[in-house]
Symmetry: C2
Subunit: 204 residues, 2 copies
Protein backbone atom coordinates (compact mmCIF):
# COMPACT_ATOMS: atom_id res chain seq x y z
CA UNK A 1 0.00 0.00 0.00
CA UNK A 2 1.45 3.39 -0.96
CA UNK A 3 1.29 6.09 1.70
CA UNK A 4 -0.90 8.34 -0.46
CA UNK A 5 -2.13 8.83 -4.00
CA UNK A 6 -2.27 11.76 -6.35
CA UNK A 7 -3.97 12.36 -9.70
CA UNK A 8 -1.69 13.62 -12.48
CA UNK A 9 -3.77 15.40 -15.13
CA UNK A 10 -1.97 15.93 -18.43
CA UNK A 11 -2.61 16.95 -22.03
CA UNK A 12 -0.28 15.74 -24.76
CA UNK A 13 -0.11 19.19 -26.35
CA UNK A 14 1.02 20.83 -23.10
CA UNK A 15 4.69 21.80 -23.10
CA UNK A 16 5.14 21.79 -19.33
CA UNK A 17 3.42 18.41 -19.07
CA UNK A 18 6.47 16.94 -20.84
CA UNK A 19 9.04 17.55 -18.05
CA UNK A 20 6.33 16.86 -15.47
CA UNK A 21 5.55 13.45 -17.01
CA UNK A 22 9.25 12.62 -17.08
CA UNK A 23 9.80 13.67 -13.45
CA UNK A 24 6.71 12.54 -11.58
CA UNK A 25 7.42 8.82 -11.53
CA UNK A 26 10.72 9.18 -9.67
CA UNK A 27 9.54 11.93 -7.34
CA UNK A 28 6.41 9.99 -6.38
CA UNK A 29 8.25 6.70 -5.88
CA UNK A 30 10.76 8.41 -3.60
CA UNK A 31 7.84 9.51 -1.40
CA UNK A 32 5.87 6.25 -1.76
CA UNK A 33 2.99 8.13 -3.38
CA UNK A 34 0.92 6.34 -6.04
CA UNK A 35 0.27 8.34 -9.21
CA UNK A 36 -3.03 8.02 -11.08
CA UNK A 37 -2.30 9.10 -14.66
CA UNK A 38 -5.21 11.10 -16.12
CA UNK A 39 -4.97 12.12 -19.78
CA UNK A 40 -7.52 14.75 -20.83
CA UNK A 41 -8.05 17.38 -23.52
CA UNK A 42 -7.44 21.08 -23.00
CA UNK A 43 -9.04 22.06 -26.30
CA UNK A 44 -12.64 21.93 -25.06
CA UNK A 45 -11.65 23.89 -21.93
CA UNK A 46 -9.90 26.58 -23.95
CA UNK A 47 -12.79 26.82 -26.41
CA UNK A 48 -15.28 27.17 -23.53
CA UNK A 49 -13.18 30.17 -22.40
CA UNK A 50 -13.53 31.69 -25.86
CA UNK A 51 -9.95 30.91 -26.88
CA UNK A 52 -9.44 29.82 -30.48
CA UNK A 53 -5.81 28.87 -29.87
CA UNK A 54 -3.33 28.27 -27.05
CA UNK A 55 -2.25 31.51 -25.33
CA UNK A 56 1.32 30.62 -26.33
CA UNK A 57 0.35 31.23 -29.95
CA UNK A 58 -2.15 34.03 -29.31
CA UNK A 59 0.31 36.06 -27.20
CA UNK A 60 3.70 36.18 -28.98
CA UNK A 61 5.78 37.58 -26.08
CA UNK A 62 4.37 34.95 -23.73
CA UNK A 63 4.94 32.24 -26.31
CA UNK A 64 8.55 33.23 -26.97
CA UNK A 65 9.39 33.17 -23.29
CA UNK A 66 7.59 29.86 -22.74
CA UNK A 67 9.70 28.15 -25.43
CA UNK A 68 12.87 29.53 -23.95
CA UNK A 69 11.77 28.55 -20.45
CA UNK A 70 10.98 24.98 -21.52
CA UNK A 71 14.34 24.81 -23.27
CA UNK A 72 16.05 25.87 -20.01
CA UNK A 73 14.03 23.34 -17.98
CA UNK A 74 14.79 20.49 -20.38
CA UNK A 75 18.50 21.36 -20.36
CA UNK A 76 18.48 21.30 -16.55
CA UNK A 77 16.56 18.02 -16.44
CA UNK A 78 18.65 16.34 -19.12
CA UNK A 79 15.73 16.03 -21.54
CA UNK A 80 16.03 16.35 -25.31
CA UNK A 81 13.94 19.22 -26.63
CA UNK A 82 12.62 20.25 -30.04
CA UNK A 83 9.74 22.63 -30.63
CA UNK A 84 6.94 20.64 -32.28
CA UNK A 85 5.92 21.79 -35.74
CA UNK A 86 3.04 22.41 -35.98
CA UNK A 87 2.33 23.52 -32.43
CA UNK A 88 0.10 22.45 -30.88
CA UNK A 89 -0.14 18.95 -32.33
CA UNK A 90 -3.54 17.30 -32.60
CA UNK A 91 -3.56 15.19 -29.47
CA UNK A 92 -6.90 13.41 -29.50
CA UNK A 93 -5.57 10.09 -30.83
CA UNK A 94 -2.75 9.96 -28.28
CA UNK A 95 -5.15 10.91 -25.46
CA UNK A 96 -7.67 8.25 -26.49
CA UNK A 97 -4.90 5.65 -26.67
CA UNK A 98 -3.50 6.60 -23.26
CA UNK A 99 -6.94 6.38 -21.71
CA UNK A 100 -7.72 3.02 -23.33
CA UNK A 101 -4.58 1.36 -21.97
CA UNK A 102 -4.63 -0.46 -18.65
CA UNK A 103 -3.28 1.58 -15.72
CA UNK A 104 0.04 -0.26 -15.62
CA UNK A 105 0.80 0.53 -19.27
CA UNK A 106 -0.23 4.18 -19.26
CA UNK A 107 2.87 5.81 -17.73
CA UNK A 108 5.34 4.28 -20.21
CA UNK A 109 3.10 5.07 -23.17
CA UNK A 110 2.64 8.62 -21.94
CA UNK A 111 6.36 9.23 -21.52
CA UNK A 112 7.08 7.72 -24.94
CA UNK A 113 4.56 10.04 -26.61
CA UNK A 114 6.05 13.12 -24.89
CA UNK A 115 9.58 12.12 -25.92
CA UNK A 116 8.46 11.54 -29.52
CA UNK A 117 6.68 14.91 -29.60
CA UNK A 118 8.95 17.27 -27.65
CA UNK A 119 12.25 15.39 -27.75
CA UNK A 120 12.26 14.06 -31.32
CA UNK A 121 9.87 16.36 -33.18
CA UNK A 122 7.67 13.51 -34.39
CA UNK A 123 4.05 14.00 -35.48
CA UNK A 124 1.96 12.48 -32.70
CA UNK A 125 -1.26 13.10 -34.61
CA UNK A 126 0.02 10.54 -37.11
CA UNK A 127 -1.48 7.10 -36.53
CA UNK A 128 1.74 5.46 -37.74
CA UNK A 129 3.75 7.28 -35.08
CA UNK A 130 1.41 6.15 -32.31
CA UNK A 131 1.49 2.62 -33.75
CA UNK A 132 5.29 2.68 -33.73
CA UNK A 133 5.35 3.83 -30.10
CA UNK A 134 2.95 1.02 -29.15
CA UNK A 135 4.99 -1.60 -31.01
CA UNK A 136 8.24 -0.50 -29.36
CA UNK A 137 6.54 -0.85 -25.98
CA UNK A 138 5.55 -4.42 -26.84
CA UNK A 139 1.88 -3.83 -27.59
CA UNK A 140 -0.15 -5.17 -30.50
CA UNK A 141 -0.52 -1.77 -32.14
CA UNK A 142 -3.48 -2.59 -34.37
CA UNK A 143 -5.49 -4.11 -31.55
CA UNK A 144 -4.64 -1.26 -29.19
CA UNK A 145 -5.58 1.45 -31.69
CA UNK A 146 -8.88 -0.31 -32.31
CA UNK A 147 -9.54 -0.17 -28.55
CA UNK A 148 -8.74 3.54 -28.55
CA UNK A 149 -11.27 4.24 -31.24
CA UNK A 150 -14.31 2.45 -29.88
CA UNK A 151 -17.30 4.72 -29.27
CA UNK A 152 -17.14 3.82 -25.58
CA UNK A 153 -13.53 4.98 -25.27
CA UNK A 154 -14.23 8.20 -27.17
CA UNK A 155 -17.04 8.89 -24.72
CA UNK A 156 -14.80 8.00 -21.80
CA UNK A 157 -12.30 10.68 -22.85
CA UNK A 158 -15.09 13.25 -23.06
CA UNK A 159 -16.23 12.23 -19.59
CA UNK A 160 -12.66 12.41 -18.26
CA UNK A 161 -12.29 15.94 -19.64
CA UNK A 162 -15.60 16.92 -18.06
CA UNK A 163 -14.41 15.51 -14.77
CA UNK A 164 -11.27 17.62 -15.04
CA UNK A 165 -13.43 20.72 -15.40
CA UNK A 166 -15.66 19.62 -12.52
CA UNK A 167 -12.74 19.36 -10.10
CA UNK A 168 -11.30 22.74 -11.11
CA UNK A 169 -8.66 21.81 -13.69
CA UNK A 170 -8.06 24.64 -16.21
CA UNK A 171 -4.53 23.89 -17.43
CA UNK A 172 -1.92 21.17 -17.62
CA UNK A 173 -0.20 19.61 -15.91
CA UNK A 174 -2.39 19.63 -12.82
CA UNK A 175 -2.01 17.60 -9.66
CA UNK A 176 -5.00 16.76 -7.51
CA UNK A 177 -4.64 15.28 -4.03
CA UNK A 178 -7.13 12.99 -2.29
CA UNK A 179 -8.54 15.94 -0.33
CA UNK A 180 -9.22 17.82 -3.57
CA UNK A 181 -6.27 20.21 -3.26
CA UNK A 182 -5.29 21.30 -6.78
CA UNK A 183 -1.82 22.31 -7.93
CA UNK A 184 -1.09 23.61 -11.42
CA UNK A 185 2.20 23.33 -13.21
CA UNK A 186 5.43 21.39 -13.45
CA UNK A 187 6.74 23.86 -10.84
CA UNK A 188 4.33 22.50 -8.25
CA UNK A 189 5.11 18.79 -8.54
CA UNK A 190 7.17 18.49 -5.36
CA UNK A 191 4.77 20.69 -3.39
CA UNK A 192 1.76 18.63 -4.53
CA UNK A 193 3.43 15.33 -3.66
CA UNK A 194 4.36 16.69 -0.24
CA UNK A 195 0.76 17.82 0.27
CA UNK A 196 -0.50 14.34 -0.68
CA UNK A 197 1.51 12.98 2.25
CA UNK A 198 0.80 15.81 4.71
CA UNK A 199 -2.13 18.02 3.71
CA UNK A 200 -2.30 21.50 5.17
CA UNK A 201 -0.71 24.89 4.85
CA UNK A 202 2.91 24.94 5.91
CA UNK A 203 3.37 27.75 8.41
CA UNK A 204 6.94 28.95 8.24
CA UNK B 1 31.12 46.05 -7.06
CA UNK B 2 28.49 43.32 -7.12
CA UNK B 3 29.28 40.28 -9.23
CA UNK B 4 26.27 40.83 -11.51
CA UNK B 5 23.04 42.79 -11.78
CA UNK B 6 19.48 41.87 -12.58
CA UNK B 7 16.36 43.90 -13.35
CA UNK B 8 13.32 43.06 -11.23
CA UNK B 9 10.15 44.15 -13.06
CA UNK B 10 7.06 44.31 -10.87
CA UNK B 11 3.49 45.59 -10.87
CA UNK B 12 1.80 46.44 -7.59
CA UNK B 13 -1.39 44.63 -8.60
CA UNK B 14 0.45 41.39 -9.30
CA UNK B 15 -0.12 38.74 -6.66
CA UNK B 16 3.05 36.76 -7.32
CA UNK B 17 5.11 39.95 -7.28
CA UNK B 18 4.37 40.15 -3.54
CA UNK B 19 6.35 37.07 -2.43
CA UNK B 20 8.95 37.83 -5.13
CA UNK B 21 9.49 41.35 -3.78
CA UNK B 22 9.82 39.97 -0.26
CA UNK B 23 12.32 37.27 -1.30
CA UNK B 24 14.54 38.88 -3.91
CA UNK B 25 16.59 41.09 -1.59
CA UNK B 26 17.91 38.21 0.48
CA UNK B 27 18.41 35.83 -2.42
CA UNK B 28 20.29 38.45 -4.43
CA UNK B 29 22.47 39.56 -1.51
CA UNK B 30 23.44 35.94 -0.83
CA UNK B 31 24.74 35.74 -4.41
CA UNK B 32 26.21 39.27 -4.47
CA UNK B 33 23.88 40.25 -7.31
CA UNK B 34 22.61 43.84 -7.48
CA UNK B 35 18.88 44.24 -8.07
CA UNK B 36 17.52 47.09 -10.16
CA UNK B 37 13.91 47.59 -9.06
CA UNK B 38 11.64 48.41 -12.01
CA UNK B 39 8.01 49.24 -11.27
CA UNK B 40 5.76 49.24 -14.33
CA UNK B 41 2.10 48.90 -15.24
CA UNK B 42 0.53 45.72 -16.58
CA UNK B 43 -2.76 47.41 -17.47
CA UNK B 44 -1.58 48.87 -20.79
CA UNK B 45 -0.01 45.51 -21.72
CA UNK B 46 -3.19 43.59 -20.93
CA UNK B 47 -5.35 46.12 -22.80
CA UNK B 48 -3.06 45.89 -25.86
CA UNK B 49 -3.75 42.12 -25.78
CA UNK B 50 -7.46 42.82 -25.81
CA UNK B 51 -7.98 41.92 -22.15
CA UNK B 52 -10.44 44.07 -20.21
CA UNK B 53 -9.46 42.50 -16.88
CA UNK B 54 -6.81 40.28 -15.30
CA UNK B 55 -7.13 36.64 -16.36
CA UNK B 56 -7.55 35.81 -12.66
CA UNK B 57 -10.91 37.56 -12.76
CA UNK B 58 -11.83 36.64 -16.33
CA UNK B 59 -11.19 32.92 -15.78
CA UNK B 60 -12.81 31.83 -12.48
CA UNK B 61 -11.16 28.38 -12.17
CA UNK B 62 -7.75 29.91 -12.82
CA UNK B 63 -8.44 32.70 -10.36
CA UNK B 64 -9.60 30.37 -7.59
CA UNK B 65 -6.47 28.27 -7.87
CA UNK B 66 -4.21 31.32 -8.03
CA UNK B 67 -5.58 32.64 -4.71
CA UNK B 68 -5.12 29.26 -3.09
CA UNK B 69 -1.63 28.94 -4.55
CA UNK B 70 -0.60 32.37 -3.28
CA UNK B 71 -2.01 31.49 0.13
CA UNK B 72 0.12 28.32 0.17
CA UNK B 73 3.22 30.26 -0.94
CA UNK B 74 2.73 32.95 1.69
CA UNK B 75 2.23 30.33 4.40
CA UNK B 76 5.46 28.63 3.35
CA UNK B 77 7.35 31.94 3.20
CA UNK B 78 5.95 33.20 6.49
CA UNK B 79 4.13 36.13 4.86
CA UNK B 80 0.79 37.46 6.00
CA UNK B 81 -1.84 37.18 3.28
CA UNK B 82 -5.25 38.73 2.67
CA UNK B 83 -7.00 38.86 -0.68
CA UNK B 84 -7.28 42.54 -1.67
CA UNK B 85 -10.81 43.86 -2.11
CA UNK B 86 -11.30 45.09 -4.74
CA UNK B 87 -8.88 43.07 -6.84
CA UNK B 88 -6.97 44.31 -8.65
CA UNK B 89 -6.31 47.56 -6.84
CA UNK B 90 -5.59 50.69 -8.87
CA UNK B 91 -1.83 50.76 -8.79
CA UNK B 92 -0.85 53.82 -10.78
CA UNK B 93 -0.21 56.07 -7.77
CA UNK B 94 1.97 53.46 -6.03
CA UNK B 95 3.87 52.80 -9.26
CA UNK B 96 4.45 56.51 -9.88
CA UNK B 97 5.66 56.93 -6.30
CA UNK B 98 8.01 53.94 -6.52
CA UNK B 99 9.48 55.25 -9.74
CA UNK B 100 9.93 58.78 -8.40
CA UNK B 101 11.92 57.63 -5.37
CA UNK B 102 15.70 57.42 -5.51
CA UNK B 103 17.07 53.93 -6.12
CA UNK B 104 18.09 53.38 -2.51
CA UNK B 105 14.57 54.09 -1.19
CA UNK B 106 12.65 52.07 -3.77
CA UNK B 107 13.01 48.54 -2.33
CA UNK B 108 11.71 49.43 1.14
CA UNK B 109 8.82 51.44 -0.27
CA UNK B 110 7.96 48.61 -2.64
CA UNK B 111 7.94 45.99 0.09
CA UNK B 112 5.85 48.23 2.36
CA UNK B 113 3.23 48.71 -0.37
CA UNK B 114 3.01 44.95 -1.01
CA UNK B 115 2.63 44.21 2.70
CA UNK B 116 -0.08 46.87 3.03
CA UNK B 117 -1.93 45.49 0.00
CA UNK B 118 -1.59 41.70 0.28
CA UNK B 119 -0.70 41.31 3.95
CA UNK B 120 -3.00 43.87 5.56
CA UNK B 121 -5.77 44.38 3.01
CA UNK B 122 -5.23 48.14 2.80
CA UNK B 123 -6.37 50.25 -0.16
CA UNK B 124 -3.18 51.18 -1.99
CA UNK B 125 -5.08 53.34 -4.47
CA UNK B 126 -5.82 55.61 -1.52
CA UNK B 127 -3.46 58.58 -1.35
CA UNK B 128 -3.64 58.56 2.45
CA UNK B 129 -2.41 54.97 2.58
CA UNK B 130 0.56 55.77 0.36
CA UNK B 131 1.24 58.89 2.46
CA UNK B 132 1.17 56.79 5.62
CA UNK B 133 3.62 54.28 4.12
CA UNK B 134 5.95 57.11 3.14
CA UNK B 135 5.77 58.70 6.56
CA UNK B 136 6.51 55.44 8.35
CA UNK B 137 9.58 55.04 6.13
CA UNK B 138 10.79 58.49 7.18
CA UNK B 139 9.89 60.40 4.04
CA UNK B 140 8.18 63.78 3.75
CA UNK B 141 4.98 62.32 2.32
CA UNK B 142 3.59 65.51 0.84
CA UNK B 143 6.81 66.38 -0.95
CA UNK B 144 7.25 62.83 -2.20
CA UNK B 145 3.71 62.57 -3.54
CA UNK B 146 4.18 65.88 -5.34
CA UNK B 147 7.27 64.39 -7.01
CA UNK B 148 5.27 61.34 -8.04
CA UNK B 149 2.67 63.44 -9.76
CA UNK B 150 4.82 65.73 -11.87
CA UNK B 151 4.16 65.47 -15.60
CA UNK B 152 7.76 64.33 -16.07
CA UNK B 153 7.34 61.42 -13.66
CA UNK B 154 4.03 60.39 -15.19
CA UNK B 155 5.76 60.30 -18.58
CA UNK B 156 8.67 58.37 -17.08
CA UNK B 157 6.30 55.62 -15.91
CA UNK B 158 4.79 55.39 -19.39
CA UNK B 159 8.29 55.14 -20.86
CA UNK B 160 9.26 52.49 -18.30
CA UNK B 161 6.19 50.42 -19.23
CA UNK B 162 7.04 50.79 -22.91
CA UNK B 163 10.57 49.64 -22.19
CA UNK B 164 9.15 46.58 -20.43
CA UNK B 165 7.21 45.72 -23.58
CA UNK B 166 10.26 46.37 -25.76
CA UNK B 167 12.41 43.87 -23.85
CA UNK B 168 9.73 41.18 -23.92
CA UNK B 169 8.01 41.59 -20.54
CA UNK B 170 4.36 40.40 -20.64
CA UNK B 171 3.68 39.62 -16.99
CA UNK B 172 4.93 40.20 -13.47
CA UNK B 173 7.18 39.60 -11.77
CA UNK B 174 9.81 39.35 -14.50
CA UNK B 175 13.56 39.13 -14.11
CA UNK B 176 15.88 40.35 -16.85
CA UNK B 177 19.60 39.60 -16.84
CA UNK B 178 22.33 41.77 -18.35
CA UNK B 179 22.42 39.54 -21.46
CA UNK B 180 18.69 40.06 -22.00
CA UNK B 181 17.61 36.65 -20.70
CA UNK B 182 14.05 36.96 -19.39
CA UNK B 183 12.49 34.91 -16.61
CA UNK B 184 8.84 35.19 -15.62
CA UNK B 185 7.44 34.44 -12.22
CA UNK B 186 8.22 34.18 -8.53
CA UNK B 187 9.08 30.53 -9.30
CA UNK B 188 12.02 31.62 -11.43
CA UNK B 189 13.77 33.94 -8.97
CA UNK B 190 16.58 31.58 -8.00
CA UNK B 191 17.10 30.41 -11.59
CA UNK B 192 17.27 34.01 -12.85
CA UNK B 193 19.78 35.04 -10.17
CA UNK B 194 21.91 32.01 -10.97
CA UNK B 195 21.77 32.92 -14.67
CA UNK B 196 22.86 36.49 -13.86
CA UNK B 197 26.05 35.04 -12.36
CA UNK B 198 26.61 32.29 -14.93
CA UNK B 199 24.61 32.76 -18.15
CA UNK B 200 23.97 29.72 -20.31
CA UNK B 201 21.84 26.62 -20.44
CA UNK B 202 22.68 24.14 -17.73
CA UNK B 203 23.29 20.77 -19.38
CA UNK B 204 22.49 18.03 -16.90
Amino acid sequence: MPRARIEFWYEFGSTYSYPAAMRIGGLAAARDVAVVWRPFLLGPIFRAQGWADTPFNALPAKGRNMWRDVERICARDGLAFRKPDPFPQHTILAARMALALEDAARPDFTRAVYVAEFGEGRQIADRAVIADILTRLGHDAGARLAQAETPANKEALKAQTQRAIDIGVYGAPSLVCADGELFWGNDRLEQALDWALAPGLVRA
